[in-house]
Subunit: 351 residues, 2 copies
């Protein structure tokens, strides 16, 4: 005997109302449900005539494919799980935008989750996405350990880690060459004649912060300028710490004609402090940022900075997935992307 209807009978939701199945279509078209499935998925061989028959039946009944059922049966969800620290700000939107663009054409979708830079939450979210049987994961996670991620890969989880490099699973990583970026920034300053260059670093416990500083040091070394801790201030990637950095540097009597910052927010903060101190940018002090965030061009003068090709990283991640998980061919991707210098108005030769 048949079961009763499920769900709350008092409110007809969309899914209860519109539930034309493949079975009904097959009956109306006078074929088997297997054939209907074949035309839906465009698999197997179907005679043009029957195909039209099925299409007509689907149209007439207003059939809508049930992807959930298909996923269960085929063990493929055509869904990519995406973990980012936060959704606000322009960085992750740009990255996801890059991914989405590439995935849309392949009819894949993204299931989004935020990790809040908290190991516990990051793990829970990864878990949830795995429970939802995502075909692959794209992870920008900051708190979880390298080991944890390596482990997932070894368990056979298809994942790509973005903006982070882990030796053991380098093949699953797509990241920016931050050392090179740091190098490019300071090298630019050196090239236009500066030798007294202050550096406002990002949090040094973060790989980005450390690597960018390393690049700065390499540039100095390459050009025969001695590096001194006295000209370096460790900020925390927030605008405010840029302001504080300048004040601290000046307070300790540091002399500089240029300041390189580990990101644009801090550069913006630094410019505020410089203005307060009556130092003009770029006439008295040149400033260079890092990331090339949206507002960099809105500052005045426009901020010279290092471009972080974040959208490209997002699309590389998509291509990785398309090739590795879905077997689409000719999807090329690189693992380490290069930053490049964006010249605007905050740098000029010292007087």
């Amino acid at each position: 005997m048949p079961l009763k209807l499920r769900g709350n009978p008092s409110r007809k939701t969309y899914s209860e109302v519109n539930m034309v199945t493949i079975k009904q279509v097959s009956e109306k078209a006078g074929v088997s449900s297997a054939t209907v499935s074949r035309v839906i998925n465009n698999t197997g061989t179907v005679k043009e005539k029957t195909r039209e028959l099925v299409m007509a039946a689907m149209a007439e009944l207003g059939y809508r494919h049930n992807v959930v059922a298909a996923s269960l049966a085929s063990n493929k969800t055509h869904t990519i799980g995406y973990v980012v620290p936060e959704l606000h700000g322009s960085f992750f939107g740009a990255m996801m935008g890059g991914t989405e663009q590439a995935l849309r054409q392949a009819k894949k979708h993204m299931l989004i989750a935020t990790g809040h830079s908290d190991a516990q939450i990051e793990k829970e979210q990864i878990d949830a996405l795995l429970s939802r049987r995502c075909d692959a994961l794209i992870l920008h996670v900051e708190a979880v350990s390298d080991e944890y991620l390596v482990n997932l890969v070894q368990q056979g989880v298809e994942l790509v880690v973005v903006n982070r490099f882990i030796e053991e699973i380098g093949d699953n990583c797509i990241s920016l060459d931050n050392v090179k970026g740091g190098y490019l920034a300071s090298r630019h300053l050196l090239d236009i004649g500066h030798t007294q260059i202050a550096y406002i670093a990002g949090s040094l416990f973060k790989a980005d912060g450390k690597n960018r500083l390393t690049g700065h040091q390499q540039a100095l070394a390459d050009m025969g300028v001695e590096y001194t801790d006295n000209l370096t201030y460790e900020g925390n990637f927030q605008a405010k710490s840029g302001t504080e950095g300048i004040r601290a540097l000046v307070a300790r009597g540091a002399k500089f004609t240029a300041v390189a910052c580990a990101n644009d927010e801090m550069a913006s903060g630094a410019m505020i402090a410089l203005r307060e101190l009556g130092r003009r940018v770029p006439e008295d002090v040149s400033v260079i940022g890092f990331d090339n965030v949206d507002f960099a061009s809105y500052l005045s003068p426009g901020l010279t900075t290092i471009d972080y090709p974040v959208q490209k990283i997002g699309s590389m991640a998509a291509h990785w997935v398309l090739e590795r998980v879905y077997g689409h061919i000719r999807h090329e991707y690189q693992h380490i992307l290069s930053p490049r210098l964006i010249l605007r108005g905050t740098t000029s030769s010292p007087e």
Copy 2:
């Protein structure tokens, strides 16, 4: 006879490897699979003792719930489909962030799609999300007609339209009072003594653009200042059109001591043009924007503007869904949100 294994046998994906089922758990625990399901979902009544037994079996086997199968059986996916025009920029990230925060606690997830302000694409995306059996949709769509959306609602699709108001389905809409925002901006300018106020409008074929201008006109009327087209320029919401707006206004001989812009980008553009013309902000000309985007506070002087509570709109949408679709109680939400004035440095009384 049993079917053969499916999928590509050459590469063991995660899902092929780790496929402990509820059945196996039930056997190990010596209970039926129904009971296992009960403990997983915390439904029905399960004795504490058996519950522990099941938990232990799950832990030992490394069981992972298969949400896809559960969705098929229960006809609920715990997934919200989200359509936004684009992912880049900070606006939609902030909105989705607001939604995500509210949904995370309820263990719902978001499936993201972009509509690119193209009716065809928007429809396809809505369709795809429906095929994936999202329990509800949150839509910021710009190209699709009111009628189309009304129709969906009438078909029983659970959806909430954000940043757009449609009379017939007002209950499904969450939007900003743009007229009020426009009013607030110009009213502020009037209150501090300006009477010659230029207005750089957004695209007037868009509801936002039109409503904000209406607010501006109402403020003028309220304060007994006559409105004149000569002081209004229709831009397109891009920074450049703000620059062009000022130039055009000046070129046509318009006299003004303040300029209200329909968004922050145009305000930023306007400031650039003003600077070119040697007019100081705010000493010679006051400027006010609209939206309070991220970079508004980074400009110098900081941009006085109208706050668009976009994150709040995102969270309201989540609450709507939580209450209406999932029956969670005490999830309050408003349909029309109010903007408010953010005072920074670009406005002052005329000299």
